[in-house]
């Protein structure tokens, strides 16, 4: 009924928990953010987490699933529009890979926080999480590798993966705003991230096109 004792909530309890968890995991890490912090920030009862998600670990997994499903479907959609076409440039594929991550980091609903959560997951080096990411989203990377391979016929498959790995590392680092470059006060955060993505795409394109293949130690 509309005669609830307190004001009706705009968002459900589950959604408020997910949002608060995302922000706090980004700031304090998975072990560092307690369920008491999460439920206090979400203004829900402590027991609501275990009621709705079962456990803290399941909550963490759900925080990932909610964002990654959308991120990777966007990546695949962008890739589908340009894959196997004659006029496709390397920058287009990089854009399909990087831009959705940038867009995610700009969404109002906590996407920026999630990008830091994602970076943290890499750092955690947790095998369970790695398996979860590999199982659910490994096919995305494989499709991008195939398209990069088509556009870079001079590179072996393994070389493609080495370089994609470097791009992913730089992307993770950049989108999580780890960097040494501090955003100036007169630059909006989205403009800062836009500039970061722009630099990253250009840098990555040059690195990917590099004809120098390493099968011997670096000359000096």
């Amino acid at each position: 009924m509309t005669s609830a004792p307190y004001a009706s909530r705009e968002r459900s309890t589950k959604e408020r928990i997910l949002g608060a968890a995302e922000a706090l995991f980004a700031t304090h890490g998975f072990a560092g953010a307690s369920l008491r912090q999460v439920t206090a920030a979400a203004r829900v009862n402590l027991a609501a987490v275990n009621y709705h998600f079962g456990s803290k670990d399941k909550l963490i997994e759900e925080v990932f699933r909610r964002r990654l499903d959308e991120l990777n479907s966007r990546r695949l959609a962008a890739l589908g529009k340009i894959a196997n076409q004659d006029e496709t440039q390397l920058e287009d594929v990089l854009d399909a890979y990087i831009r959705p991550a940038l867009d995610l980091s700009r969404t109002d609903g906590g996407g920026a926080a999630f990008v830091r959560v994602l970076a943290r997951a890499y750092a955690e080096h947790n095998d369970t999480l790695r398996r979860f990411l590999s199982d659910n989203y490994g096919h995305v990377l494989r499709q991008f590798a195939a398209e990069f391979g088509r556009l870079l016929p001079g590179l072996a498959r393994e070389e493609i993966y080495w370089r994609l790995d470097i791009v992913t590392g730089a992307l993770t680092y950049a989108m999580a705003d780890f960097g040494i470059i501090q955003r100036k006060s007169d630059v909006a955060e989205r403009d800062h991230r836009e500039a970061a993505a722009d630099h990253l795409i250009r840098f990555a394109a040059a690195g990917l096109r590099n004809p120098s293949v390493s099968n011997s130690p670096v000359t000096r």
Copy 2:
């Protein structure tokens, strides 16, 4: 360097704590690794941490200081040998920046673990730790930026920092072994890291040399 294998019993209590803390922080994070785990792994009494270091936070800081001081000086020493010389190549400067991190990750006694700890520190986004790292590394980064600027006269100072930021991100990611590339069983870990550094240097050199700059120049 002077530590022999299986010498843990002869090492001091402080050193055993530092080694065990480094390994456990790398695996479980700063919040995730308890002092009980650390002291059990080091085979010392629980109270030894607070006796020798004062607190867990001070222990964390000491784990960093021990490694960063050496990495710091090695990078500057390598840079000092090639800076401001006519025959210096871009790859030489990148090598001076990247190779000490690789060497650190190959040292016995926990260096590889520390690289993961360092990557985790970036992910933690903790202001205290960032300040600590900035104080220790700020001048190093500035010296490298100056040398890169000399070798890349076509790039603005800010562009140099953008690209160095990307290199640092990829280096952090690669050295911490976050990557999707799984080391094959017949490849030794040091060979795997050597290959990663080799790929990274080539990739970074191509990215740094890229004449294409952002179409939205920043005015100072």
